[in-house]
Symmetry: C2
Subunit: 163 residues, 2 copies
């Protein structure tokens, strides 16, 4: 068995139609980790709010690939995404949230990610078509925001390996 | 739709039989991120080498749950795990590595994780029963080590939701 590090990436047959929408995060390190993972998954667009900025030390080449759109307010852009046919899916434990293990993503999904401490605000929750949650079995009973986003990215890409 | 943050965790019907084996990592932040995700997934054991230490700011309560065993050398403990019936699975792009999307984990799996820069050494590659790789579609063409481990944890737990 031999190393084959940094194999050429897979080719998407069509552009990814998954967009990330990030509430203001406490940490641009978390945002940058999300951006690196998203870029590796073939995403090209992250809409964020707050003091969002990518750190090249963490996000690496994703800084050059990911189109980071920083908005003062997220509900208008979510409304626009909805008008463009995107399903607005929050990554949050809520009443009636779906288990990510059994959730079938629509190809056109806008995944809405909440703040590390406070999650999604009432204002953002009100914009969602639905929410997905990730099973937790042990302490600290909540995944880091970038870890949770990574799991959702993985599941989406498994469902749409070719874009 | 209302918040239900920090719901009670799921119960495992039997203990997790997934063990993480970490080569010396450059960053204890990465190790601590892995520990938090692993603990949330119900794992209890990480075997590491090098200057492995968990940072409570990152790993949170996982520090109190995860049994971190620091060894000078990993091949002897891998040999022991193999004798106990664990399949030794490297998380690495190698010749003949399996696609994580289509890989069926044995319940008793020791997942071997390589260094951020250099991956798994020849010495560790020689101990593996097999390797799994995660599809990449875009730059920087490689996932962060904690991100990749998160994806493997997610896939294992989806296959064994009850332990």
């Amino acid at each position: 068995m031999q190393h084959l590090r940094h194999k050429p990436p897979r080719e998407l047959l069509r552009p990814r139609e998954l967009v990330l929408v990030c509430a203001p995060l406490r940490s641009n390190v978390n945002l940058s980790r999300i951006a690196r993972a998203a870029s590796c998954c073939g995403l090209t667009r992250i809409i964020a709010s707050g003091h969002a900025k990518l750190d090249r030390e963490v996000a690496r080449d994703a800084v050059d690939v990911i189109q980071l759109e920083v908005r003062r307010s997220l509900p208008p852009v979510i409304k626009q995404l909805k008008a463009e046919g995107y399903r607005i899916v929050g990554l949050e434990q809520t009443t009636n949230s779906h288990d990510l293990h059994h959730y079938a993503f629509p190809r056109k999904t806008a995944l809405v990610i909440g703040n590390e401490r406070t999650g999604l605000t009432e204002e953002l929750l009100a914009t969602l078509d639905e929410a997905i949650e990730i099973p937790v079995w042990g302490l600290p009973h909540s995944y880091n925001v970038a870890t949770a986003t990574t799991m959702a990215l993985y599941e989406y890409c498994k469902q749409f390996p070719d874009g």
